[in-house]
Every structure is written in C-alpha cells, then in structure tokens.
Amino acid sequence: MTLARQSARWRPSELLVPMPAGLYCPPADIYIDPVRPVARALITHGHSDHARSGHGSVLATRETLAIMALRYGEGFTEAQQVAVPGETIRIGEVDFRFVPAGHVLGSAQIVVESRGLRIVASGDYKRERDPTCAGFEPVACDIFITEATFGLPVFRHPPAAGEVAKLLESVRLFPERSHIVGAYSLGKAQRVMALIREAGYEQPLYIHGAVEKITGFYEKEGIALGEIRPVARTDRKALGGEIVICPPSAAQDLWARRFPDPVTAFASGWMRIRARARQKGVELPLVISDHADWDDLQATIRETGAGEIWVTHGEAEALVHWCGTAGLKAKPLHLVGYGDEGEAEPVEEAADAAV
C-alpha cells in the first residue's frame, strides 16, 4: 500500500503548499523564501522580504548567499549550499533547479519537480533587459507560481532607457540642482547606475552609505558602473548638478535637504500612479521597475504553458481574474510578508540606512 502511494502522481498541494512560514514542500521538508526561521530554506533572491536570517540551512545561488552574508553577517544561517543555475539538486525524491529570474543579481526561479509534476516558483521576476543580472528564462511547467506586484492593467512600464533620459534631461535643465534618485539599495540602484552609463553619462555618480556595500559587491561581480563616489566623503553643498543615488527613505529625509536645491526623483514601478509619486513628494517620477508589468505577467504565464497559476502576492485578484478569462485555472495563495503591496522595501531601506 505504501508503495502504491509513493509512485502515484502528487496532487499539487502535496508537492507545494502555502503555510504561514511560506511555501512548503512536504516530501523534501523544505520551505521557499520562508518569512520566519525554519530548518531548511530555498531562497530565490536577496531582497529582505524573501531572504531572511536565522534559518538552519539555506540553499541559494552564490550571489544570493553572498548578498545575505553582506546584509546579515556570515552567521545568517548555520549551513549553506550553493545552487548553480541550471543544475539539479535532489532532496528526498524532489528535484530542485534554480533558473535565472531577471529580478536582481543572483535572483532565481526555483523549479520543483517530482513524480512527473513540475511546479515553478518564480519568486520576483521581470522580463525587461537589465545590464546587471542574467535575464529571465521561461521554464515549461504544469503549475507556475507568480508574483503580481504590478498585476493591474494600469501598470505598463515604459522602456527604462526613456526614463533615464528624463533624468538626464532634468540634469541638463537644472545644472545647479542636485538630483536625488531614490532607488532600492539592492538591484534597482545598481541597475539605474548601469543605465545612466549606457546613456553616455560619464560624470561621477554619488551614492548614499546604505547603497555602498551592495554596489561594491556588484562591481566585484564584474558589473561596470563607472566612477562611484560615496556622499559621506563629499561636501554636499558642492554637488549641484550631480546625480546622487540613495534609498527611497533617505530621499525624503533631512539627509536629502542638505544638497543644493535638490530635485527629488524616485525609480520605481509605483511611479506610474501619480498619487503615489505625490504622496512621496517626488518631483521627477521615473517608472523603472524590477518586476514584470501587466503585459509581461501575461506573456510569461502563456510562455510557461502552465495550465494552473498560483499567485503569491501583490494584486492577485486582477491577475487571477485574467487567468480565468484566458481559460487558465488560477488561485491566489494569500502569502503574507512579501512586498506588502510593494511597500516593504522602503522599510528595509530604512533599516539599512540606519546602519
């Protein structure tokens, strides 16, 4: 009888099930991106809402492990193992494979496969080209687990190069004013800097202390960002006409006011919504996101060929509705602790900034 059970195909919820701590894989006894300390964790990427410290053991890409060590210290977990993208790691009778997600450096989707059932937990992802990380690779699967941070048809991100052009145009228009660009310290900040370089801007870029560690890591990983100078060792009064990258929380802080007549910019997908930009006192909204927009969520779901879609966090309702109209089975997982509708990251940044 035991034998018969083992060889039977899993029901999806037997292979992956949402638990208060996160997505849980019972046959391997392991969680994906758990929001509280667990014995064994698979981590998709280094953002603090997905990568938390205090787990017994962590399996993640080399870059993600390094980012976690940078943020939490070497003792962030008792044991760690590197997942090489593309390679399969078997735990119990479950095969796990990490595949690039295009979100930030080291970010990965996790392919969970056992007894002929394949589920892809995509973590956070985007499809737009990013010079600072490997691009998203669609994986054919039975069930695709997707985020829906920008899961509403009002979110259509324009090409990032055009947004960076807006920033550089403003720098040309106001050569006496500092341009303070709020950008999440892991991923967005480095991507914005790389895009600024691609646009041909060659002046030094100035960065807030909370962005230094991760930026240094990106550079060590071979991502060219040109000349970077820490604000901490500079006279802020002399930074008129310069571009300064800081965490979003710092842009509204006293910290930002010490620059000459600053122009406040913010690089985020949320900048699509005017009210959001105004709430944050942003004068120069830059719609640059590390998440898939509405069109890319749909395109990705179709590319995976999955017949069933699970939506982890964000605007799940709209995406689930769309799946229904497209003839796909879909359900929200109501996972809590991720993104908190995208507002968790500034909190993380505030914590970083305090360091």
């Binding site: 509403l152 048809p153 259509r156 919504i273 005017r274 009210a275 105004r278 709209a318 769309w322």
Partner: protein
C-alpha cells in the same frame, strides 16, 4: 496638445507655489494664441463641454477593457482620467496628435453621436500623459493644485500687473482671452469691465490664536456672530438698456443665483453685499442641514421656497450704487451697509448684529453662550465669532492683521474605527476614509457599536501610513474598496473625533449626523471598550431637533 499636457504634468508634480507660477507664466509667455488662452480657460474653469461627460469616457473604456479589471484598476488608482489614460490600449502612430484648439473646438461643437469617435481617435494618438491631460480637460476637474486665482496671477505677471487687475476685467472676457494677452503684453488697450454685476474677490479671515488677543486692543474691533451658512456675495447692477442683472456668488465666485430666485427677487438696488446665506423660518435661523435642502438644485419648487425660505444676513457692503467702498474702513462701510439694507427694505435681507463687548473676556463669554449674548433663538446657527478691525479696508484674499474667526470649541467624542475605505486622488491606495462608531445597548441587551460618522482628515501623512497599515493588518471583511476592521471591546482602534455640531438624521442607523467630523487624535493607547456611548452624543443634540 502635447505642450499643454506637459504643463499639466509638470504642475501636478510641482508642490511649490512659486514654481507653479513660473511654469504657468513661462507657458503663457511662450505659447501662441489661441492655445495659451484655452489653457488659461482650462485652469480657471472657463471651459464647459456639455456633451463631453465622464460617462462618455466610461463608455469608451468599457468597450475596450474587461469590466472587472477596470473596476479593480479604478479602485486602485482612484482617479477616472488617470485610470483610463493608463489602461487605454495603445495604438501607436494611429493618428496625428491633435492640437489644443482642435480639441476644444471638437469638444464644444461635436454632437453626441460624433464625440465618442472623435475622443477615441485622439486617445489613440496621444501618449499616457497626453491621454491623461485630455481626459482631465473633458471631466473638467484638473486637480493639479492650481486654483483659478493662481492661474490669473501667473497671467497677470506677463504684464506686471496684480491679479486683482486681471480679476477686475475678467468677467467681460471670453476664452481664448486674446484681448487680455494683448493688454498684458502692451499691444492693446485694457479690456473694458463691461459686466454690471461682477464678482469681487472675497476677504477672508484667519483663525485667532491664543497669543493674538494680547496684541489686540478691544476698542479697535467690531465683533459679529459667525453664522453657519454659506458665505455669499450678492451683486446687482443695471445694464445699459436698464435691465437688472443679479448674481449670487459663492466665496469662490461660482454663481448660485439659479437655486435662489427668492433672494434674486429681493435684490433691487445696485450694489454688492457680503453676507451669509441662511434659511430663516418662523423668525429663526435654521441649521446648516436645513440650508442644504436648498443647495445644488437645478429647479426650485414653490413648495421649497415656502418650506425653506432663504435669507441673507449682511455684514459688509463692497459697492453702493456705482461707488466702490472697498478702500473705506469697515466702520464707514458698516454705516453705509445699514443705510443700504434700510433702503432695500426686504424682509429677507437683514443686518448681522454686532456683539457688545468691552474686553476679550466678555467676548469669550458671548461666544460660549450666544443665546444669552444677543443671538437668541438664532444661537443654534452660530458657530463662533468674527473679530474685525474697524479700520480694515476690504481686501481680497486672506490679508494678515484685519479679520479673525474665533470658532466655538469643537465637541470631542471617543469613537471606534469600524470600516475603512481607500481614498481618492492623492489618497488612492491608502485606506484613508474612516467610519467610526460608539457603543449602545443592542436589542438583545449586549453592547454593540453603531456607526455615527465618517472622517477622512485630521491626521498627518505619517499617521495615515500607520492607519493604512493598521487597517490592512486588522481586516475582518472586504467589500470592494471598503474593509471592515476589527472592532471588539478589547481589539480595535479608538479615535478622538472632533465635530462642530450634531443633528438628528433619519439617514443614519444611529439617528445622528455629525457636522465637520475629523480625527483629532488617534488613541493607540485606548481599548475600544472605553470609547463613548451613544447617550453621550444624544445629550449634545439641540433640544428642538
């Protein structure tokens, strides 16, 4: 159209008044006629497109999007124009980007059947910002933080004149204001102010602060009741052909005369009165709630005129016949006002009586008990005192050091948060509209909360973020944009709610309606069981109801 859209977009993100002025002035200076005049008209509310309504936009987007996705998006964005601008399926290069004069001309003149095709062809051609600006133009509420006054101030700066000078000639002008720009740029004569009954900018007061009294000599001031009605400027004038023009302006210059034919009929003398519009019945001024029955009515029935007779309680005279009194001191204007009202001899226009006081303590006593201090049975409609310097000229705007308002103390009550709704506009995506309740004994004898009001201000932006987080963490149920928040004896959030007055109401479950409720403090510390009971509110009801 793109340049106009660019201007609106920049203004929407620019918080500083001076920078807004510079942006508008720069646009007006560098944009040719008639585009700039149409933009000025858009910013001053001077464009009306009777056939172009929000319903048209809803219909167009409904043809192109899934209704559920539209509803979710609108709920999230909180602004119809912006939602449609963002959701509109792009058709790049579909048409030529339209010019502003063509758009205005089309919106004005196209018939109901042609308009949808015209508007959708423009939307296809424009980018997100252009679509947003076009839709703002159609819906008529720009919401870019620019008042008509600010736009006129920017226009005035082209000619180095004051906004009041522009205001003075404004009513004789029509979009696209070619003559106005010609005058401002020194290429043409000053336009004639031909309107016999124009609006004059209203003089406003400052709230009085504790320390102000020490610097104010009581003998230099006049005090009046602050009436809880609607501030109006009642203007009457004679056209060259001898016919009479009478207008009733709200304090922002909107003409509401159509709702008040009884008042218009009473104003038979050339002049401009400043006063309070009230409903007065049986020799007694009625509450604001009663006055509301007369507001925003397109047609006024004879029955309403009898049941809710309008009344003007006058406190200032700006124009007497042909004579402009605004430079005279208040003491002289008051004498002229008394003469004017006596000559008018209308039962529905009377004087707002001065309050007798020798020192500020006496005025404080009068404010605390208006009924005993001369307001008599009208006391229910008094919401405090006005303190006006006897020497004050009548100045536009809110000049410092002339007029103060001294409102009655707000009533305070501790309520429990019950429901929260996402805000609109600036507040979209935040739960910012709060419905709160107080305890009462339910039908089965157990205590229950009954909603008594709704408030969406009184807290800081930082508090809003915390409230929003609280709502999300304590949600019991969701009903579209509304969330039911946990409200039990031990779990829930208490607000100290301030309000100005209380009325009986059949529309609310509690039988009560609050006037001007706002969150005065968030009592994170207080358990819901310690919030107030309905009896505490019922005790505050006016005896007569």
């Amino acid at each position: 159209m793109n340049r106009f859209a660019w201007l609106l977009d920049r203004l929407a993100y620019e918080p500083r008044r001076n920078a807004k002025l510079a942006l508008i002035a720069d646009y007006l200076r560098t944009t040719p006629d008639p585009d700039r005049g149409l933009a000025l008209a858009a910013m001053t509310g001077g464009l009306a497109f009777p056939n172009a309504k929000p319903g048209l936009i809803r219909a167009l987007i409904a043809e192109r999007t899934d209704p559920v996705l539209f509803a979710l998006s609108y709920d999230y964005v909180g602004d119809l124009s912006e939602t449609v601008a963002l959701m509109w399926p792009a058709r790049h290069g579909a048409n030529q980007v339209p010019h502003l004069p063509d758009v205005v001309d089309g919106l004005r003149n196209a018939g109901k059947t042609d308009l949808p095709r015209l508007v959708s062809s423009w939307l296809d051609a424009l980018d997100e910002t252009g679509r947003w600006a076009l839709l703002k133009l159609i819906t008529g509420s720009l919401r870019i933080g620019v008042s008509a006054r600010l736009a006129k101030t920017a226009a005035a700066s082209l000619g180095g004149v004051s906004a009041d000078e522009v205001e003075h000639v404004w009513h004789g002008l029509e979009p696209p204001y070619v003559a106005l720009f010609a005058w401002l740029e020194g290429r043409g004569p000053r336009p004639e102010a031909t309107d016999p009954a124009p609006f004059r900018p209203v003089m406003l007061s400052h709230p009085v602060e504790e320390g102000d009294f020490a610097r104010m000599e009581p003998a230099a001031f006049q005090a009046e009741w602050k009436w809880d009605g609607i501030r109006v400027q009642a203007v009457s004038g004679t056209r060259p052909d001898g016919t009479r023009v009478t207008r009733l302006f709200s304090r922002t210059g909107e003409d509401i005369a159509a709702s008040f034919p009884d008042v218009v009929e009473a104003l038979t003398l050339d002049g401009a009165l400043d006063g309070e519009l009230l409903v007065r019945r049986d020799e007694t001024v009625q509450s604001f709630n009663t006055l509301q029955q007369r507001l925003n009515r397109k047609s006024v029935t004879a029955k309403m005129l009898v049941e809710y007779p309008a009344h003007i309680r006058a406190y200032d005279l700006l124009i007497d016949g042909e004579e402009d009194l605004r430079d005279l001191p208040l003491s002289e204007r008051r004498l002229r006002l008394e003469g004017f009202v006596a000559k008018l001899a209308s039962p529905i226009v009377d004087l707002s009586p001065p309050i007798a006081f020798a020192n500020w303590d006496e005025l404080a006593a009068a404010r605390a008990d208006p009924a005993a201090a001369g307001a008599g049975s009208d006391a229910e409609a008094v919401e405090g005192c006005m303190i006006k310097r006897l020497e004050s000229p009548y100045l536009p705007g809110r000049p410092k050091g002339h007029w103060w308002k001294w409102k009655r103390e707000a009533r305070l009550v501790d309520c429990v948060l019950m429901y929260a709704q996402r805000g609109h506009g600036k507040r979209s995506s935040f739960y910012s509209d709060f419905t709160f309740g107080v305890w009462r004994t339910g039908e089965e004898g157990a205590d229950e909360l009954v909603p008594v009001g709704k408030a969406y201000f009184g807290f800081t932006d930082e508090e809003l973020v915390e409230l929003d987080r609280y709502v999300r963490k304590h949600t019991l149920n969701r009903f579209g944009p509304v969330r039911e928040v946990r409200h039990e004896a031990e779990t829930g959030l208490v607000f100290e709610v301030a309000f100005e007055g209380l009325q009986r109401s059949t529309r609310h479950k509690s039988g009560l309606a609050m006037r001007f409720p706002r969150i005065s403090r968030i009592r994170w510390d207080k358990p819901p069981r310690e919030a107030d009971r309905i009896e505490a509110l019922e005790n505050l009801l006016p005896a007569s109801g």
